[in-house]
Amino acid sequence: MIRFKNVSKIYPPNVVGVEGISLHIRPGEFVSIVGKSGTGKSTLAKLLFAEERPTRGSIEIGGWDITNIHDRDVPLLRRQIGVVFQDFKLLPMKTVYENIAFALQVAGERPHRIREVVPAVLKIVNLEPMIDRYPRQLSGGEQQRVAIGRALVHSPKVLVADEPTGNLDTVTTREIIDLLKKINEFGTTVALVTHDREVVNALKKRVITLEDGKISSDIEEGRYKL
């Protein structure tokens, strides 16, 4: 599904984001990418959805070589990869329904398709009763669920979650992780970038640990080791 071959990302003048990363994530896997702050976790996530291009090496997603992906092809890639961030990135002037529908609208989906997909996604993220609320009227966990819902509307093959629980309390964190596991069970590959020890340990899934931009360990059913 996802294949990194000796990938390095060097920011000018000479700052190492990641260096010599080689990994293979199989379809339907749930992988946690862990590490201290500044070890390249977010760079790795950005390389996945082509927010950054590698300086060296190659990246393949679903057989598509995105190493030097053309700008015009990035939107197509983004429709196959859902992305969730710590700060939710919701539009404050749009309701829950509109925030989720927005992802389909900008991709040119027809209104009847939007009317089909959005309620289905709202059901998955359990936000049906809140469709008319604005982000400011929601808790952090609910806002993150809206963001996850928005990431799911294109039925992505991969979901990249970059510190999705960073702003949430323990109970809400558990809810969000449960939701990610549920999405993974539907067949979506999940790459969870986190530095939350409890989350990683509770998951009992594959853990890739980064240190100074390099993979220091890659263990099936791993634990947070740092």
Binding site: F49, D71, R72, V74, P75, L76, L77, R78, R79, V83, K89, L90, L91, F102, A103, Q105, V106, A107, G108, E109, R110, P111, R150, A151, V153, H154
Partner: protein, 304 residues
């Protein structure tokens, strides 16, 4: 495609309304640019009218010596008519010149007495030459320096008209140069303001644009509302210009008419006849300038 176009249009209108005052400033500047260009056109029409009016009255009087035979005069007429610059040549015989002089000064006893004293017709034949263009008179006057006629011609009278035409031309040329400079300044300001409008638009919508990129909106979908917004502003600017221009023309027309001694100065007629071309070109120019500024601003500030 239709659905996307509808959404792009919706976003463009949203941008317009959300930055209403910025849109107003941008449109005002575009209107000022268009108005300056149209004032230049009005000036052009009026100048042309004024010059035509003067040129129509301009003529060169060629006075022959009193001894010159009619045959020589006829040869001069044929010669002048052969020149492409000459519109018309009228012949006044020595007798007609005498009669006209007498009629003109019938009440002036002193002049009449002097004429009596001379005892003979002191006037020679005269030719009244009209040209197509005021600038042609120089060529016509040069042509009359032909040795065949030079010695038979007593005098040529033109200088006053030449000065008038020259004065009109130099004044309007100066005004036009000033108008062109003003248009260029307004155009540059318009480019800067459009650039700034787009920059602020991108800044205001940076969150939305970021999310659009994140969820897979195409580059076209992100950029098109900005282009469309500028086309919308150009259309509004043109509409406002037309709304201001035509009543102004209607008000000015009679004033110029009085000045030129005609019923109409032809302004309204000119703008009605050529309106489609004039305003079509103005609109296209405005759109091109706006899009040029938008491209500059997006290259600088919008990362897609």
């Amino acid at each position: 495609m239709f659905v996307s176009s509808y959404r792009v249009t919706k976003f463009a209108f949203q941008n317009f309304w959300r930055n209403f005052w910025l849109s107003v400033i941008t449109i005002s500047m575009l209107v000022m640019t268009l108005m300056t260009v149209n004032i230049l056109l009005v000036l052009n029409v009026v100048t042309q009218q004024a010059i035509e009016l003067v040129e129509d009255k301009v003529e060169v009087s060629v006075y022959f010596q009193e001894y010159v035979e009619q045959e020589t005069v006829d040869q001069a007429v044929s010669y002048l008519r052969g020149l492409s610059q000459v519109r018309d040549v009228e012949t006044i015989t020595a007798e007609e010149a005498y009669d006209q002089f007498v009629a003109r000064h019938a009440n002036d006893e002193e002049i009449m007495a002097s004429l009596q004293e001379l005892g003979e017709n002191p006037f020679g034949p005269t030719l009244v030459v009209k040209a197509h263009d005021a600038a042609d008179f120089e060529i016509i006057l040069d042509a009359l320096e032909n040795p065949q006629f030079r010695d038979d011609i007593r005098d040529k009278d033109f200088s006053d008209y030449e000065q008038i035409v020259e004065r009109i031309r130099s004044t309007t040329d100066r005004i036009q140069a000033f108008g062109v400079a003003l248009s260029v300044i307004f155009l540059l300001i318009a480019i800067l303001i459009v650039f700034n409008t787009v920059r602020i638009g991108i800044f205001i919508h940076r969150e939305e644009i970021g999310i659009m990129r994140l969820v897979g909106a195409s580059n076209w979908f992100i950029k098109a509302p900005f282009y469309l917004e500028m086309i919308l502003m150009s259309s509004i600017a043109l509409a406002i210009t037309l709304i201001m221009l035509f009543p102004a023309l209607a008000a000015l027309e009679p004033q110029f008419g009085v000045y030129f001694g005609t019923q109409s100065a032809g302004l309204m007629e000119y703008f009605t006849q050529h309106g489609l071309v004039i305003f079509g070109l103005e609109f296209m120019g405005l759109v091109l300038v706006s899009i040029f500024s938008t491209i500059l601003a997006m290259r600088r500030f919008l990362r897609v």
